[in-house]
């Protein structure tokens, strides 16, 4: 690994952890109703919102009421976003005259943004109006992230509660997450992005005259717009000259900020953060990566503060950081090594100091190998899904890293809220495994782990892999699904496996190379995203309800300490073993087979 790469990674982690600590303590104050500074400014707004909606924020909910509120809220969110896309042609803020989104794509996109997935089967700049992008997607970026944070906070209350049914109030947690955490941070990041050159305008696309007219072959179409074929059955073309270019723009910066902070990932443009208007400079690249993991990292400190034992949060953070660094190392080294076949075929020196070095296919020169590999690891460790490089063009092992991070359940550091509650489920499994292995009492933070909690934890861990693998299995036999992949063999398999892993784990990034806007992917994907989000969140809340009703038992000689490096190691092993055992056969057919094919030729 080059010294430049090491420096970039060290600086990134230092800034991330340095900022996550105070943010985490601030978020703990927000969720425990203690003065946080911004409450003086935003308190009246918060109280006004409760009055407007007729809500009693002090009314406590048990886990079923909390789950029902989450589901009712999400159901309305999906319906609203679906309707907005279908009606965008007659709604305002549509300067480029975008037509209604087709039904299957609108359903996929509505579920995608309401589940914090942000899988995009469309090109934003040529499909969605400004109103859809702002009032639809950007708003859903806030509320879907806040919903995940609310479930986490309810789970923590379940761990800290003593013989109670109460987990807090969903509407209050949702409102405070948006108002005191996501909104202020988004304003700061959006202004930083504007400063760096990211557009924020209601003006429509602009047309630029090219300095050098470019000749090209234009397809001939009949009166109905269908391509005309020649005698050989190939599309007819005619010479043409391009003299103008349409440059899409819009309210990008505001969407960009929450896209990263809420680990949403849905880009304004089709190529997401690889687009120079979304991510124009190395500094914006750094800020975007920082924004993705800032809240998930900070929530570990929030957890430590809320359970009144900072060491518990630090252990989770240490386990996440260890897996993150190992995965990042594999990705950076694989990309820096490049493809040996290219060196053999063309004598191309991919490690020359005169260029970025390594495998630069599908990457932006302004980010280079490290900036791209780090972004890929960050965005898939979280449930973000934003990309600044095409993961499809990574080397097989470099591409395996983002895929595996998604398949591990996105617990490194994970999505806003969902990452930490996923890791806490692994922690519960870890204490249970320790109980089986060395006869320790299965307890976590003084709460006994019993069969019901283990059944629910098993569901949380098994639902996403089931959806990922079954979706892939169906995808490789359905003709319309196979027709959507750009490559054959192991790489084509990887494209389908990545797509279903991404949707089922609510990541949203695409491997690329897959024409995802097809009825099969739109409908199967919507199902996977919905079940992957809520058939895990509901069992998590069920565990929270069960734990809250229990006594906190004092630590005894048989209690496994969960604040030690030993437990962090056990947790890492549980996460990796569960992920490896579940997905190794599928990975062997995809990226591992491709890697062996590459080095064995």
């Amino acid at each position: 690994m080059t010294s430049n790469a090491i420096l970039q990674i060290v600086v990134y982690l230092a800034v991330l952890l340095g900022l996550a600590w105070p943010l985490g303590l601030y978020m703990a104050r927000v969720y425990t109703d203690r003065p946080c500074g911004l409450d003086r400014l935003l308190g009246p707004v918060e109280r006004f919102l409760y009055r407007l909606c007729g809500l009693d924020p002090e009314k406590e909910m048990d886990w079923k009421a909390y789950a029902a509120s989450l589901m009712v809220f999400t159901g309305f969110s999906i319906l609203l976003l679906y309707g907005q896309q279908r009606l965008q042609g007659v709604l305002p803020l549509n300067p480029d005259g975008m037509a209604a989104v087709p039904p299957d794509l609108a359903l996929n996109t509505a579920v995608s943004f309401s589940t914090n997935t942000n899988w995009q089967a469309y090109a934003g700049e040529s499909t969605m109006s400004y109103l859809t992008q702002m009032l639809g997607f950007t708003v859903h970026n806030f509320i879907s992230a806040a919903a995940g944070m609310s479930v986490l906070v309810a789970f923590i209350r379940g761990l800290t509660g003593r013989e109670t049914r109460n987990l807090g109030n969903f509407w209050k947690d949702l409102t405070r997450s948006v108002l005191y955490i996501l909104l202020p941070l988004s304003v700061v990041f959006a202004l930083l992005f504007v400063w760096q050159g990211v557009p924020q305008t209601f003006g429509g696309a602009v047309t630029a005259t090219l300095l050098e007219p470019t000749p090209y072959e234009s397809p001939v179409k009949d009166a109905a717009g269908a391509p005309v074929l020649d005698e050989a059955g190939k599309p007819k073309t005619e010479p043409a000259t391009m003299i103008e270019q349409t440059i899409a723009r819009g309210p990008v910066a505001s969407q960009e900020a929450i896209k990263e902070l809420g680990t949403n990932g849905g880009g304004f443009f089709n190529v997401n953060s690889a687009h120079p208007f979304e991510n124009p400079t190395p500094l914006t690249n750094f800020l975007e990566m920082l924004a993705i993991l800032l809240i998930p990292g900070g929530l570990c400190f929030t957890f430590g503060a809320m359970v009144r034992d900072k060491r518990q949060g630090m252990v989770l953070l240490a386990a996440m950081t260890f897996i993150f660094v190992v995965m990042l190392g594999v990705c950076v080294l694989s990309e820096q090594a490049g493809n040996p076949q290219l060196a053999g075929l063309f004598g191309l020196d991919q490690t020359a100091s005169a260029q970025s070095g390594g495998n630069m296919e599908g990457k932006e020169v302004r980010f280079g190998i490290t900036g791209s590999a780090l972004f890929a690891t960050v965005t898939t460790g979280a449930s973000c899904g934003a990309v600044n490089a095409m993961h499809d063009s990574f080397t097989p092992l470099g591409g395996l890293v983002p895929m595996l991070l998604i398949q591990l359940g996105e617990v490194v550091y994970g999505g806003t809220g969902s990452g930490l509650y996923g890791m806490l489920i692994f922690a519960i499994v870890a204490v249970f495994v320790a109980g089986l292995m060395v006869g320790r009492t299965p307890e976590y933070l003084g709460k006994k782990i019993e069969p019901f909690e283990m059944k629910m934890a098993s569901l949380v861990i098994l639902v996403p892999p089931f959806l990922s693998l079954m979706g892939t299995a169906v995808g490789v036999v359905v003709p319309s699904a196979k027709a959507a992949i750009a490559n054959t063999g192991a790489h084509g398999f990887s494209e389908i496996l990545y797509a279903f892993s991404s949707m089922s784990n609510n990541n949203g990034s695409a491997f690329a190379g897959l024409s995802a806007n097809a009825v099969f992917y739109n409908l199967a994907g919507a199902l996977c995203m919905f079940l992957g989000r809520f058939w895990t969140a509901v069992p998590v809340l069920a565990i929270a309800g069960a734990l809250a009703s229990k006594k906190i038992v004092p630590q005894g000689a048989g209690t496994l300490p969960t604040h030690t490096p030993l437990f962090a190691g056990l947790l890492v092993c549980v996460v990796l073993v569960v992920g490896a055992l579940t997905f190794f056969p599928a990975l062997a057919l995809g990226p591992i087979a491709e890697h062996l094919d590459m080095i064995g030729r």
């Binding site: 589901m71 299957d104 359903l107 509901v538």
Partner: protein
């Protein structure tokens, strides 16, 4: 329009089934 009705109906069914799932989990706990 037909597709719209079908898809919106599916969303409502999915939400209702998930809420029912919570009820099932609650009963499972008391068993």
């Amino acid at each position: 329009m037909f597709n719209d009705i079908v898809f919106l109906g599916l969303v409502l069914v999915a939400v209702a089934v998930t809420i029912a799932l919570a009820g099932f989990f609650d009963r499972l706990r008391s068993v």
